[in-house]
């Protein structure tokens, strides 16, 4: 599994993905880790199939006792079906996720890890020195959905928003936005259910100062490509399955 440090100034952001050992038919995912001294958080730690690789990859950059928190943007299997494994290897950790999913997500197996419910209006977590904000993204696509914004690094982890379906081995960052659009179009048209929710999210996110937007599938956006994405998404008609 490739690991790329995308920020390093007092605290660090890592992205893990493009796993060559991943079974062919499962969708490729990006996992993120923020390391802040003796506290670290894994964002959307992934499905059970990538657990072994993800654990080994994370431990290359952090000691196991410093893996203190997990975040799940929503309840999908590619996001958090590894929970039953993390629960056994990180019994003292806390999982941050929408209050809506607690009873559901526990089906993945959760005897030890603490569940920290995020209310619909959002929330925040302080690691050792930095604050992270949980930004509501409800109905995009899950009914209880959050993104993570780091005001210091100006990185927005955007879950399934900005996701693209790409062949294995693709670069981590968008290089040509216009070409990239076609890899994102169907995903957003079909997986995102609500134009109203989309506009609500755009209004909220446009108030943030974002240098990197990091989705859970596909490539990351940086600089002007972030604004390009927001404009493109604004114009896109979503929820096409019922039209």
């Amino acid at each position: 599994m490739d690991a790329l440090k995308i920020y390093d100034n007092g605290h660090q952001w890592y992205v893990f993905g493009r796993d060559p050992e991943k079974p062919e038919k499962i969708i490729d995912t990006n996992q993120f880790m923020i390391v802040d001294g003796k506290r670290s958080i894994l964002l959307d730690p992934g499905g059970i199939e990538v657990f072994s690789t993800m654990l080994a990859s994370a431990l290359k950059y952090v000691d196991i006792e410093n893996l203190t928190d997990l975040f799940a943007s929503h309840q999908d299997p590619d996001i958090i079906s590894s929970l039953g494994m993390w629960d056994q290897v990180l019994p003292k950790a806390n999982l941050h996720c929408s209050w809506l999913w607690e009873g559901f997500i526990r089906h993945f197996g959760m005897d030890n890890i603490g569940y920290q419910p995020i209310s619909d209006s959002g929330g925040r977590i302080t690691l050792e020195t930095i604050d992270l904000e949980f930004i509501p993204a409800h109905y995009l696509h899950s009914s209880g959905n959050f993104h993570v914004y780091d005001p210091k690094s100006k990185i927005l982890f955007s879950g399934d928003i900005g996701a693209a379906l790409e062949p294995p081995g693709s670069p981590m960052f968008v290089e040509d936005f216009d070409k990239h659009v076609e890899k994102m179009r169907y995903f957003h048209e079909r997986w995102m259910p609500s134009n109203e929710a989309k506009h609500h999210w755009l209004k909220r996110v446009r108030k943030l100062d974002i240098e990197v937007m990091a989705p859970q599938h596909g490539r990351l956006f940086k600089g002007k490509d972030v604004e390009r994405f927001l404009n493109w998404f604004e114009e896109l008609d979503v929820g096409v399955a019922i039209k």
Binding site: F51, L59, G84, M85
Partner: protein, 203 residues
């Protein structure tokens, strides 16, 4: 002590299959109890002619009650074994994945995984110990219920022979003996299949 996850998956499916067989056996046992009560009522109606059958029908009634209780208790034990087996399966899966993680790490990073692996290994050992105890009890209970059903079949033959002396009640009582024997055989079928499934366990 550690087994392949696929073997534990087979074992978990076997535990669930046993639970299903015993649930069906407990339902048949209820029919058996009803048949025993009917035979008792019929014997009372037959009066003096069927006096020899009263002891036998009382025995049936008692046997059916015991069978219901035992099959219910065995069913609970089979569900408990199934749960323990799922825990063993999940723990084994975790350990398999930890082995893979460890093989990708070196030195102190790899050794950071050792406490979790050791703790789960102990847990796995305790689960296997629990499973061994539960399986032993299950085997004994299955043997007991099988013994009940053997007795039931034998007594049904005696019942049928005794029924020949009950005049106009003979056809009805013979039919009841046949019903009781049929239910006993059906229960035996489920018990035998449960015993076969136990061979899937190698703990």
């Amino acid at each position: 002590m550690r087994k392949a996850s696929s073997d534990i998956a087979i074992q978990t499916a076997a535990a669930a299959t046993i639970s299903g067989h015993l649930f069906r056996a407990s339902l048949i046992a209820k029919h058996l109890a009803l048949a025993a009560k009917n035979s008792r009522a019929m014997v009372l109606r037959a009066g003096e002619k069927a006096v020899g059958l009263k002891v036998i029908s009382d025995y049936f009634d008692d046997l059916a009650g015991k069978t219901i209780n035992l099959s219910t208790s065995i069913n609970k034990r089979a569900i408990s074994i199934s749960r323990t087996s799922v825990r063993q399966w999940r723990t084994q899966t975790f350990l398999d994945r930890m082995d893979k993680s460890q093989s990708r790490l070196e030195g102190s990073k790899a050794s950071q995984l050792a406490p979790s692996i050791n703790e789960r290994q102990h847990y796995l050992s305790s689960l296997i110990g629990t499973l061994q105890t539960e399986l032993k009890s299950l085997q004994e209970q299955l043997a007991d219920i099988n013994q009940y059903m053997q007795s039931s079949s034998v007594v049904a033959v005696t019942f049928k022979l005794e029924a020949t002396q009950t005049g106009e009640f003979q056809p009805l009582l013979e039919d009841m003996a046949k019903t009781i024997n049929g239910h006993s055989n059906d229960i035996k079928y489920h018990i035998t299949n449960s015993q076969k499934q136990l061979s899937q366990f190698h703990v």
